[in-house]
Symmetry: C2
Subunit: 158 residues, 2 copies
Protein backbone atom coordinates (compact mmCIF):
# COMPACT_ATOMS: atom_id res chain seq x y z
CA UNK A 1 0.00 0.00 0.00
CA UNK A 2 1.28 3.42 -1.05
CA UNK A 3 2.14 6.07 1.50
CA UNK A 4 0.36 9.36 1.04
CA UNK A 5 0.72 12.65 2.87
CA UNK A 6 -1.93 15.32 3.46
CA UNK A 7 -1.30 17.01 0.13
CA UNK A 8 -1.55 13.76 -1.83
CA UNK A 9 -4.89 13.04 -0.20
CA UNK A 10 -6.16 16.52 -1.00
CA UNK A 11 -5.09 16.12 -4.60
CA UNK A 12 -6.95 12.83 -4.84
CA UNK A 13 -10.04 14.31 -3.23
CA UNK A 14 -10.10 17.15 -5.74
CA UNK A 15 -9.53 14.94 -8.77
CA UNK A 16 -12.10 12.42 -7.60
CA UNK A 17 -14.63 15.26 -7.67
CA UNK A 18 -13.44 16.90 -10.87
CA UNK A 19 -10.66 15.59 -13.05
CA UNK A 20 -11.04 18.42 -15.54
CA UNK A 21 -9.26 20.82 -13.19
CA UNK A 22 -6.18 22.37 -14.71
CA UNK A 23 -2.92 21.74 -12.93
CA UNK A 24 -2.83 25.44 -12.12
CA UNK A 25 -6.21 25.34 -10.37
CA UNK A 26 -5.35 22.13 -8.59
CA UNK A 27 -2.06 23.58 -7.38
CA UNK A 28 -3.89 26.61 -5.97
CA UNK A 29 -6.41 24.46 -4.13
CA UNK A 30 -3.81 22.26 -2.47
CA UNK A 31 -1.41 25.12 -1.79
CA UNK A 32 1.47 24.24 -4.09
CA UNK A 33 3.03 25.76 -7.17
CA UNK A 34 2.25 24.03 -10.47
CA UNK A 35 5.38 21.97 -10.92
CA UNK A 36 5.50 20.04 -7.65
CA UNK A 37 1.75 19.61 -7.91
CA UNK A 38 2.02 18.03 -11.33
CA UNK A 39 4.89 15.86 -10.17
CA UNK A 40 2.69 14.53 -7.38
CA UNK A 41 -0.19 13.84 -9.74
CA UNK A 42 2.11 11.88 -12.04
CA UNK A 43 3.58 9.98 -9.12
CA UNK A 44 0.08 9.09 -7.93
CA UNK A 45 -0.82 7.86 -11.40
CA UNK A 46 2.35 5.76 -11.57
CA UNK A 47 1.77 4.32 -8.11
CA UNK A 48 -1.22 2.33 -9.30
CA UNK A 49 -3.87 3.81 -7.04
CA UNK A 50 -5.49 5.58 -9.97
CA UNK A 51 -7.74 3.34 -12.00
CA UNK A 52 -8.75 5.69 -14.80
CA UNK A 53 -10.36 8.98 -15.72
CA UNK A 54 -13.84 8.99 -17.20
CA UNK A 55 -16.56 11.30 -18.38
CA UNK A 56 -19.92 10.74 -16.69
CA UNK A 57 -23.08 11.37 -18.68
CA UNK A 58 -26.64 12.12 -17.58
CA UNK A 59 -29.05 9.25 -18.13
CA UNK A 60 -32.08 11.47 -18.41
CA UNK A 61 -30.60 13.48 -21.26
CA UNK A 62 -29.90 10.33 -23.24
CA UNK A 63 -33.35 8.85 -23.01
CA UNK A 64 -32.33 6.18 -20.50
CA UNK A 65 -35.34 6.42 -18.25
CA UNK A 66 -35.18 3.09 -16.45
CA UNK A 67 -32.59 1.80 -14.01
CA UNK A 68 -33.08 -1.63 -12.46
CA UNK A 69 -31.34 -3.36 -9.57
CA UNK A 70 -31.52 -7.13 -9.97
CA UNK A 71 -30.86 -9.89 -7.49
CA UNK A 72 -29.82 -13.06 -9.25
CA UNK A 73 -29.57 -16.58 -7.88
CA UNK A 74 -27.78 -19.45 -9.61
CA UNK A 75 -29.01 -23.03 -9.57
CA UNK A 76 -25.60 -24.51 -8.82
CA UNK A 77 -22.42 -22.95 -7.56
CA UNK A 78 -19.99 -24.59 -9.95
CA UNK A 79 -17.04 -22.72 -11.48
CA UNK A 80 -18.46 -23.33 -14.93
CA UNK A 81 -21.76 -21.62 -14.06
CA UNK A 82 -19.98 -18.54 -12.80
CA UNK A 83 -17.59 -18.31 -15.72
CA UNK A 84 -20.32 -18.43 -18.33
CA UNK A 85 -22.51 -16.00 -16.45
CA UNK A 86 -19.75 -13.48 -16.01
CA UNK A 87 -18.66 -13.62 -19.62
CA UNK A 88 -22.20 -13.01 -20.76
CA UNK A 89 -22.83 -10.16 -18.35
CA UNK A 90 -19.63 -8.47 -19.43
CA UNK A 91 -20.81 -8.47 -23.01
CA UNK A 92 -24.11 -6.68 -22.25
CA UNK A 93 -23.77 -2.90 -22.56
CA UNK A 94 -26.94 -2.39 -20.49
CA UNK A 95 -25.15 -3.78 -17.42
CA UNK A 96 -23.44 -1.05 -15.44
CA UNK A 97 -22.44 -3.13 -12.46
CA UNK A 98 -22.30 -6.78 -11.53
CA UNK A 99 -21.08 -8.02 -8.17
CA UNK A 100 -20.81 -11.42 -6.59
CA UNK A 101 -22.00 -11.08 -3.00
CA UNK A 102 -22.56 -12.99 0.22
CA UNK A 103 -26.06 -13.64 1.47
CA UNK A 104 -28.72 -16.31 1.35
CA UNK A 105 -31.04 -14.38 -0.94
CA UNK A 106 -28.90 -14.15 -4.02
CA UNK A 107 -25.52 -14.60 -5.65
CA UNK A 108 -25.18 -11.58 -7.93
CA UNK A 109 -26.32 -7.99 -7.69
CA UNK A 110 -26.67 -6.41 -11.12
CA UNK A 111 -27.48 -2.87 -12.15
CA UNK A 112 -29.00 -2.30 -15.57
CA UNK A 113 -29.77 0.89 -17.48
CA UNK A 114 -32.22 0.90 -20.39
CA UNK A 115 -34.60 3.21 -22.23
CA UNK A 116 -37.89 1.99 -20.80
CA UNK A 117 -39.78 -0.96 -19.38
CA UNK A 118 -40.23 -2.55 -22.79
CA UNK A 119 -36.49 -2.59 -23.35
CA UNK A 120 -36.03 -3.97 -19.88
CA UNK A 121 -38.43 -6.77 -20.67
CA UNK A 122 -36.44 -7.51 -23.83
CA UNK A 123 -33.23 -7.53 -21.82
CA UNK A 124 -34.57 -9.93 -19.21
CA UNK A 125 -36.12 -12.41 -21.62
CA UNK A 126 -33.67 -12.02 -24.47
CA UNK A 127 -30.43 -11.85 -22.57
CA UNK A 128 -30.32 -12.31 -18.82
CA UNK A 129 -32.58 -15.30 -18.28
CA UNK A 130 -31.05 -16.99 -21.33
CA UNK A 131 -27.83 -17.50 -19.41
CA UNK A 132 -27.63 -21.12 -18.18
CA UNK A 133 -27.96 -21.48 -14.43
CA UNK A 134 -29.85 -18.28 -13.74
CA UNK A 135 -32.67 -19.55 -11.53
CA UNK A 136 -33.93 -16.60 -9.51
CA UNK A 137 -34.35 -13.03 -10.75
CA UNK A 138 -35.83 -10.28 -8.64
CA UNK A 139 -35.99 -6.71 -9.95
CA UNK A 140 -36.23 -3.41 -8.10
CA UNK A 141 -36.61 -0.21 -10.05
CA UNK A 142 -35.04 3.14 -9.36
CA UNK A 143 -37.52 5.74 -8.16
CA UNK A 144 -35.07 8.45 -7.21
CA UNK A 145 -31.33 8.67 -6.92
CA UNK A 146 -30.24 10.17 -3.62
CA UNK A 147 -26.51 9.89 -3.97
CA UNK A 148 -24.25 8.77 -6.78
CA UNK A 149 -20.72 9.26 -5.71
CA UNK A 150 -17.72 7.83 -7.52
CA UNK A 151 -15.37 9.17 -4.84
CA UNK A 152 -13.83 6.79 -2.36
CA UNK A 153 -13.52 7.92 1.26
CA UNK A 154 -9.93 8.86 2.08
CA UNK A 155 -10.34 10.07 5.63
CA UNK A 156 -8.70 6.95 7.09
CA UNK A 157 -5.40 7.84 5.38
CA UNK A 158 -4.88 11.02 7.40
Amino acid sequence: MVSLDRIDVRILQELQQDSSLTNQELADRVGLSPSPCLRRVKALEDSGIVDRKVMLLKRSELGLKLTAFIQISMDRHTPDRFTVFEEQVNSFPEVRACNLVTGQNCDYLVEVVVEDMEKYHDFLLGKLTRIPGVSGVQSSFLLRSIKENTSLPLGHLL
Copy 2:
Protein backbone atom coordinates in the same frame (compact mmCIF):
# COMPACT_ATOMS: atom_id res chain seq x y z
CA MET B 1 -33.35 15.58 -25.77
CA VAL B 2 -30.26 16.47 -27.78
CA SER B 3 -29.76 15.16 -31.30
CA LEU B 4 -26.50 13.32 -31.85
CA ASP B 5 -24.97 11.87 -34.99
CA ARG B 6 -22.65 8.86 -35.31
CA ILE B 7 -19.54 10.89 -34.62
CA ASP B 8 -20.98 12.48 -31.47
CA VAL B 9 -21.87 9.04 -30.15
CA ARG B 10 -18.39 7.74 -30.88
CA ILE B 11 -16.86 10.72 -29.09
CA LEU B 12 -19.03 10.05 -26.05
CA GLN B 13 -18.16 6.36 -26.09
CA GLU B 14 -14.45 7.12 -26.13
CA LEU B 15 -14.62 9.75 -23.40
CA GLN B 16 -16.83 7.57 -21.22
CA GLN B 17 -14.04 4.99 -21.31
CA ASP B 18 -11.13 7.39 -21.00
CA SER B 19 -11.47 11.12 -20.53
CA SER B 20 -7.71 11.61 -20.41
CA LEU B 21 -7.46 11.20 -24.18
CA THR B 22 -5.92 14.19 -25.89
CA ASN B 23 -8.04 15.92 -28.48
CA GLN B 24 -5.55 14.76 -31.09
CA GLU B 25 -5.99 11.09 -30.15
CA LEU B 26 -9.74 11.45 -29.91
CA ALA B 27 -9.88 13.09 -33.32
CA ASP B 28 -7.91 10.20 -34.82
CA ARG B 29 -10.21 7.61 -33.28
CA VAL B 30 -13.39 9.20 -34.52
CA GLY B 31 -11.95 10.14 -37.90
CA LEU B 32 -11.90 13.91 -37.69
CA SER B 33 -9.21 16.56 -37.57
CA PRO B 34 -8.59 18.18 -34.19
CA SER B 35 -10.55 21.38 -34.63
CA PRO B 36 -14.00 20.02 -35.52
CA CYS B 37 -13.47 17.28 -32.95
CA LEU B 38 -12.84 19.77 -30.18
CA ARG B 39 -15.81 21.85 -31.28
CA ARG B 40 -18.03 18.81 -30.97
CA VAL B 41 -16.70 17.99 -27.51
CA LYS B 42 -17.38 21.54 -26.37
CA ALA B 43 -20.86 21.45 -27.89
CA LEU B 44 -21.59 18.19 -26.10
CA GLU B 45 -20.43 19.68 -22.82
CA ASP B 46 -22.61 22.75 -23.36
CA SER B 47 -25.62 20.64 -24.31
CA GLY B 48 -26.00 19.35 -20.77
CA ILE B 49 -25.60 15.63 -21.44
CA VAL B 50 -22.21 15.63 -19.74
CA ASP B 51 -22.45 15.43 -15.97
CA ARG B 52 -18.78 15.69 -15.02
CA LYS B 53 -15.31 14.22 -15.38
CA VAL B 54 -13.81 12.26 -12.52
CA MET B 55 -10.77 10.26 -11.57
CA LEU B 56 -11.56 6.73 -10.37
CA LEU B 57 -9.32 5.18 -7.72
CA LYS B 58 -8.69 1.55 -6.81
CA ARG B 59 -10.20 0.52 -3.48
CA SER B 60 -7.69 -2.21 -2.84
CA GLU B 61 -4.74 0.15 -3.10
CA LEU B 62 -6.29 2.48 -0.55
CA GLY B 63 -6.93 -0.11 2.14
CA LEU B 64 -10.69 -0.14 1.54
CA LYS B 65 -11.20 -3.86 1.75
CA LEU B 66 -14.91 -4.06 2.43
CA THR B 67 -17.82 -3.08 0.21
CA ALA B 68 -21.35 -3.65 1.47
CA PHE B 69 -24.69 -3.53 -0.29
CA ILE B 70 -27.45 -2.68 2.16
CA GLN B 71 -31.19 -3.00 1.84
CA ILE B 72 -32.94 -0.53 4.08
CA SER B 73 -36.60 -0.39 5.09
CA MET B 74 -38.28 2.59 6.74
CA ASP B 75 -40.92 2.31 9.41
CA ARG B 76 -43.21 4.93 7.87
CA HIS B 77 -43.27 6.44 4.42
CA THR B 78 -43.71 10.06 5.42
CA PRO B 79 -41.91 12.93 3.64
CA ASP B 80 -40.19 13.82 6.88
CA ARG B 81 -38.67 10.35 7.25
CA PHE B 82 -37.24 10.46 3.76
CA THR B 83 -35.88 13.98 4.05
CA VAL B 84 -33.97 13.27 7.25
CA PHE B 85 -32.66 9.95 5.99
CA GLU B 86 -31.41 11.43 2.74
CA GLU B 87 -29.72 14.36 4.40
CA GLN B 88 -27.88 12.03 6.74
CA VAL B 89 -26.84 9.61 4.03
CA ASN B 90 -25.49 12.45 1.93
CA SER B 91 -23.23 13.49 4.77
CA PHE B 92 -21.60 10.07 5.16
CA PRO B 93 -18.44 9.74 3.04
CA GLU B 94 -18.61 5.94 3.28
CA VAL B 95 -21.79 5.93 1.21
CA ARG B 96 -21.04 5.65 -2.47
CA ALA B 97 -24.59 5.20 -3.70
CA CYS B 98 -28.08 5.52 -2.29
CA ASN B 99 -31.19 4.88 -4.32
CA LEU B 100 -34.87 4.89 -3.51
CA VAL B 101 -36.40 1.85 -5.22
CA THR B 102 -39.63 -0.02 -5.79
CA GLY B 103 -40.19 -3.42 -4.20
CA GLN B 104 -41.75 -4.94 -1.13
CA ASN B 105 -38.45 -5.91 0.49
CA CYS B 106 -36.95 -2.50 1.01
CA ASP B 107 -37.04 1.20 0.33
CA TYR B 108 -33.40 2.16 -0.15
CA LEU B 109 -30.43 0.38 -1.68
CA VAL B 110 -27.18 1.71 -0.27
CA GLU B 111 -23.59 0.92 -1.18
CA VAL B 112 -20.93 1.51 1.43
CA VAL B 113 -17.13 1.31 1.23
CA VAL B 114 -15.01 0.97 4.37
CA GLU B 115 -11.67 -0.38 5.52
CA ASP B 116 -12.81 -3.57 7.20
CA MET B 117 -15.61 -5.30 9.09
CA GLU B 118 -14.87 -3.42 12.28
CA LYS B 119 -15.31 -0.09 10.53
CA TYR B 120 -18.47 -1.39 8.94
CA HIS B 121 -19.82 -2.31 12.33
CA ASP B 122 -19.00 1.21 13.54
CA PHE B 123 -20.77 2.66 10.53
CA LEU B 124 -23.92 0.61 11.06
CA LEU B 125 -24.23 1.21 14.78
CA GLY B 126 -22.80 4.70 14.91
CA LYS B 127 -24.35 6.22 11.83
CA LEU B 128 -26.85 4.29 9.76
CA THR B 129 -29.13 2.77 12.38
CA ARG B 130 -29.07 6.05 14.31
CA ILE B 131 -31.17 7.67 11.62
CA PRO B 132 -34.81 7.86 12.79
CA GLY B 133 -37.16 5.58 10.91
CA VAL B 134 -34.62 3.00 9.76
CA SER B 135 -36.34 -0.24 10.72
CA GLY B 136 -34.86 -2.98 8.57
CA VAL B 137 -31.22 -3.35 7.55
CA GLN B 138 -29.92 -6.27 5.55
CA SER B 139 -26.28 -6.37 4.44
CA SER B 140 -24.63 -8.27 1.60
CA PHE B 141 -20.87 -8.14 1.20
CA LEU B 142 -18.88 -7.94 -1.97
CA LEU B 143 -17.00 -11.13 -2.76
CA ARG B 144 -15.83 -10.24 -6.24
CA SER B 145 -16.53 -7.43 -8.65
CA ILE B 146 -17.40 -8.73 -12.11
CA LYS B 147 -18.17 -5.48 -13.84
CA GLU B 148 -17.91 -1.87 -12.78
CA ASN B 149 -18.80 0.27 -15.71
CA THR B 150 -19.49 3.98 -15.51
CA SER B 151 -20.38 4.07 -19.22
CA LEU B 152 -23.98 4.42 -20.26
CA PRO B 153 -25.19 2.40 -23.26
CA LEU B 154 -25.57 4.62 -26.32
CA GLY B 155 -26.53 2.04 -28.93
CA HIS B 156 -30.16 3.19 -28.97
CA LEU B 157 -29.11 6.60 -30.31
CA LEU B 158 -27.82 5.23 -33.63
